[in-house]
Symmetry: C2
Subunit: 332 residues, 2 copies
């Protein structure tokens, strides 16, 4: 009776022990209501006794669904992306979906990344549109996608994004309220939706206040690029809005090294509110985006599509301004 090799426990084993058919075990495993409570208990007991766990692959083969989500991201080096990943991972786990991560090394690798998603047989995927600058034409329509950081519904896909522009406006208005003549901007890389939106919000706020619009500085989200860009900042500038916190870190160093105190000489506002921002010197005033809500919402929408069906839409999440010590009145 006792087989040498430990064989996997299958439904048939459970069925045999519980004295029912395999189909009934299947029904119990899938919470079908069509099972007598007494039978259900008996089957459950047999499952526990044998340590039964359903076989994902077999289930996937039969049903065509893998109960797996994908996450496509360009890099995990940026803190924002890491936070998103964590949020998406948690949200997926809460819904008992697995999460596979696909990184897209270069812009030319986007189609390869989609192929990898298809190979994984994911039921759906969250696309972090950061730096990959996807156009509708690049998005396949044979995959169920939730595109984070795209302007509106892209083809048949849902989209979701933070209100980058609104957050940027709030940052600029905060600075203008301190009496600064204008606000300079250290933008993110070209081709990034988030960078473009934040820049747009900055422009709008300046325009609304009828204030001159300085030339834009540009970085690539890294602290190093922020440092380099800030070294070229107009000597007369008194207020700087950087498109993310890490570039703000670099800017703070550049300003410090050139003898311009923050916020004494120059006020600085970042974007993201990464965990470290409160410990920058000085602690950074920044625009907080709620990564957990973003990731949760993305997964929620995706799962609803998987399990229910169509209805593409777009959603926008609000930001909040977190005021710390890097902003103050304009020097007189």
């Amino acid at each position: 009776m006792d087989e040498g090799a430990a064989r996997r426990v299958s439904m048939a084993d459970v069925a045999h022990l519980a004295g029912v058919s395999g189909q009934t075990v299947s029904r119990v495993a899938n919470d079908s209501p069509r099972v007598d409570p007494a039978t259900r208990d008996r089957v459950r007991a047999a499952m526990d006794e044998l340590g039964y766990r359903p076989h994902r692959a077999a289930r996937a083969l039969r049903t065509g669904r893998t109960h797996t989500l994908g996450l496509m991201v360009s890099t995990l080096a940026s803190v924002g992306n890491s936070r998103m990943l964590q949020a998406v991972a948690d949200a997926a786990a809460a819904r008992r979906y697995a999460l596979v991560v696909v990184t897209v090394a270069s812009a030319g690798d986007v189609q390869g990344a989609f192929t990898r998603l298809r190979d994984q047989e994911v039921d759906g995927a969250v696309i972090l549109n950061e730096a990959t600058a996807l156009t509708a034409g690049e998005l396949p329509d044979d995959l169920l996608l939730m595109v984070v950081d795209a302007a509106g519904p892209v083809g048949p896909h849902d989209t979701l994004h933070i209100d980058h522009a609104g957050g940027a406006r709030a940052a600029v208005e905060h600075l203008l309220a301190f009496g600064h003549a204008t606000v300079h901007h250290l933008a993110g890389p070209e081709g990034s939706f988030a960078a473009a939106e934040r820049e747009r919000g900055w422009r709008e706020a300046l325009a609304a206040a009828s204030v001159p619009v300085p030339e834009v500085l540009r970085g690539d989200w890294t602290a190093a690029s922020g440092h380099a860009a800030a070294l070229t900042l107009d000597p007369d500038a008194t207020a700087l809005f950087t498109a993310n916190d890490q570039m703000a870190l670099g800017a703070l160093r550049a300003l410090g090294d050139t003898g311009r105190g923050v916020p004494g000489a120059v006020s600085v506002v970042g974007f993201d509110d990464i965990a470290d921002a409160a410990d920058f010197r000085p602690p950074l005033t920044t625009v907080r985006q709620d990564f957990d809500a973003l990731g949760g919402r993305a997964v929620e929408t995706l799962v609803r599509r998987i399990e229910a069906g169509p209805a593409a839409g777009a959603a926008v999440l609000e930001t909040t301004l977190v005021v710390r010590a890097s902003t103050g009145p304009a020097p007189r």
Copy 2:
């Protein structure tokens, strides 16, 4: 002939088009040598024409292997963990393995996390032993694991870790060479292997130099905890080794706020060399660990075990000291 619903392309379809049996298609798909080159070309052409992709689930069902790796991690909020994830994801992708991420929310959730890994039917998993403080007793032996940051082979499992102690020694020796009377230490949380090892290296280096060992400060890897701990630093301290860069960031702020210049009054060394460290104020001297090598090595070993077989071992990777501007001579 033309079915309404788009049905998946299977081996049978390819076989039919190429005029061979399904088995021959299978052989081509798996690079079996037992196929006539002409036949192989014909099958390949048919695959391309139909857009055939093998069905992972069916393959997994048949072979019992999913070609999927797991990564278990406590949190992705720390930059080090994110970097590891990225490295592991890239290494797995290079070997055409999928990667599923499992986060373990609390210490009590460890077994739940293993269950999730089993449910995913992973062929093997990389365990980042950060903060979860796994003991051998907690590690299941029905999963193939590669434990990163464990002392030696754990049960049947391979292990791998950075030479934390060696890196710490190098940091301390660097500071002592500047003439500091001793070096204080801001350690990581209790129960963390990395934190314990770094602390050990610090102690060893002090002992080797016959220098007094100050009381240890302790944080939880976050910048905020580093700030709080550093506020309690001995006023006479002139050198501080923090167990990671993010705590160093907090410490830099605390020192700055209490009027102690770095490196004028106090020299500081971190650990990790995160991307931002070069833009701290001042740029941080730190111990670099090569996350890419670590992740690559972990995956490489794991895959070899999966595809070849046993032979548990342990490996240690070296660190390098990166000297920047946060360290200097002891004040006289």
